[in-house]
């Protein structure tokens, strides 16, 4: 067996173990909670979550609805994709529009126009309104240092906040989902996956993704070291030059602060090769919101962010 074949076998066995773990987590939640929901934006991690949920309950339909917190700053391709997936699998989608919160004064638009930080309130309000008690998210521990300590079952208090000191020890594969009324549990089935695992699995399973994850031509401008694109959230300021480049997105969030990377990776195999060679983490490369401070993610988690 060549080294390459051995490496391929190793990667495949690893994916089988990660898939079994995620399916176990989905079934555990279905067995223990009354009203679970899957956060679903149409992005790659939430698409992967849904794929695993479908496999966990096959041939029965997924026993949970989906929830999208919509900043209004969307990439059209992603919203189209989201709606197609919902239609294809006959799922129920709840959408919380950040715009509604701004319109009735519960939220105020930020001076920089970024809406990512504004998602927290609509998310928590919707969780309360629908009495969701388990909320699946696509968070991974390899994304960022504050997430390295996140539990697979992460208890949130009645204000949706994450309290590091109240997190329960997680032993074996026994998860404790007990919570008091008004509290809920965030559940992260992809906790142990890395970005490379996600892409290798997407390739293995042939998971369909929004087109913007692959190389395409786009008009972009440079800000804070990132390639941003024009959209409903605004466009280039004076002095920011618009260029047409071949780019793709490694993560998809609020359009105002999600940057594209220059890339010619037009297939999933190209993307895997690029991820393996990449010298930047996906958040560091493309998310302005995490760059605000060294402890940016820790602070947002405490406030009840994903």
């Amino acid at each position: 067996m060549t080294t390459l074949e051995a490496a391929t076998d190793a990667a495949r066995d690893n994916l089988i173990a990660l898939e079994s773990e995620a399916i176990h987590i989905f079934r555990e939640v279905a067995g223990e909670f009354d009203r679970p929901v899957i956060l679903f934006s149409g992005g790659k991690d939430s698409t992967l979550l849904l794929h695993l949920a479908i496999k966990a309950f096959w041939p029965a339909p997924v026993p949970f609805p989906l929830l999208h917190v919509d900043t209004g700053h969307n990439f059209e391709e992603v919203i189209d994709f989201r709606d197609r997936v919902v239609e294809k699998y006959g799922l129920r989608l709840v959408v919380a529009h950040v715009q509604d919160w701004i319109d009735d004064g519960r939220l105020v638009e930020r001076p920089d126009g970024t809406r990512n930080p504004l998602q927290t309130q609509p998310l928590l309000d919707t969780i309360t309104e629908h009495k969701f008690d388990a909320v699946f998210g696509g968070g991974r521990r390899d994304e960022e240092r504050a997430r390295a300590k996140e539990r697979i079952f992460s208890l949130r208090n009645a204000f949706g906040q994450w309290e590091p000191r109240r997190q329960r020890p997680e032993l074996w594969n026994l998860y404790n989902g007990r919570h008091r009324p008004g509290e809920h549990v965030r559940v992260f089935p992809l906790s142990n996956w890395t970005e490379a695992d996600v892409w290798n699995y997407i390739a293995r399973e042939g998971v369909d993704l929004p087109s913007i994850y692959y190389a395409h031509k786009r008009k972009v401008y440079r800000r804070d070291g990132m390639w941003l694109t024009e959209g409903p959230w605004g466009g280039p300021r004076e002095g920011e030059k618009v260029e047409e480049l071949t780019v793709r997105y490694r993560t998809v969030g609020d359009g105002s602060c999600t940057g594209a990377v220059e890339s010619t990776a037009s297939t999933v195999e190209d993307v895997i090769a690029e991820v393996q060679a990449s010298r930047l983490t996906e958040r560091g490369a493309t998310r302005a919101d995490d760059r605000l401070s060294e402890a940016a993610m820790e602070d947002r988690k405490r406030e009840g962010y994903f």
Partner: protein, 428 residues
Amino acid sequence: MSSLLRLATAGSVDDGKSTLVGRLLYDTKSVLADQLDAVQRASVDRGLSTPDLSLLVDGLRSEREQGITIDVAYRYFATPKRSFVLADTPGHVQYTRNTVTGASTAQLAVLLVDARKGVVEQTRRHAAVLALLGVPRLVLAVNKVDLIGYDEAAFTVIAKEFAAHAASLGYSEGSVLAIPVSALVGDNVATRSDNTPWYTGPTLLEHLENVPVAPDPHEAPFRFPVQYVIRPRTPEYPDYRGYAGQIAAGTVRPGDEVVVLPRGLRTTVERVDTADGQLEEAGAGSSVTVLLADDLDIARGDLIASAADRPEVTDEFTAALCWLSTKSLQAGARVLVKHGARTVQAMVEELNSRFDEQALSIVDGPDSLELNEIGSVKLRLSEEIPVDDYATSARTGAFLVIDPKDGDTLAAGLVGERFSALGGSEQE
């Protein structure tokens, strides 16, 4: 060979564990440019002349400010041979709680000692906890060998002392390895060091890549906790009834004779299903859906087990509890026990003994169990459940103890008389 190794680290304060983990990430190129830039900036801010690799792994702001680690953190790195999930457990506060958590899923543990101090009390305690949890393999990383002038004799003394202690805990010679390393400089972590020509063993990373993982309990009798009943009731699958779960031990094939516990109903496996199709055989760790030949009333919490080798069904057993809560335990306490997919009410009838980790001895009849203490207790349950001894089947011998009032996890439970695993300590 399995391609995924789950490991845990343990060590005392200042043994350089964060630096070692940072070194593993750095040398396997699992640290990317922006993370390294952040570490370099932060190191310069702190007036350091070289990047402090421990900053790669100290996650929370409160930790970075105090220069300590307060909770188990999970790290990921990979080589072409294997992927690694590393549970990085802090050494000082709440070390039992964190070590127990990391050890519960670990196939190997790396214990750190400072070469200048050698094996200290906490090393012995950590090793005892790892033995109790049944972690199959240990590595002793004798760190900071650069600070003892790469002295072979000093290393050998430490390695021998640890080997003797590990042997007293039941570890065979082949399951323990001592390696002289310097996490700071990188000696013998991922690259063989010219400074230790007398050391002929593998580097830490080579060992992690090649060490045989404890055999998956494929040989063990089949154990399958039912998590969820799949009943589509769709036009395409009107009568489908499958039992979904993750195989805890052993293997299953269509035609196998099984028993459904606790009631003891006997039947045959008809099919083993996944979304990708039917399987000829499935083994421990696989999430599958089992279809049975007979139409039985089976629900979440039941256990499907090999008919030939079934677990004991009982409402009373002895167990070791690793107490993880600041609320202390007294005899008579009412708790919840989560075992497999079943949660039942229970009472702690007796506190038999406590493991004194300071003296490494067993104390009979303690009044209470406090945070980070390990005790042997007698439990009585409100109903009978099927249990295995932790020593023979960890996944069906393990349970959580939960506070019925607020839902907190109080303890990690291990079915059976586990203190015998702590070896000759009683005679001390």
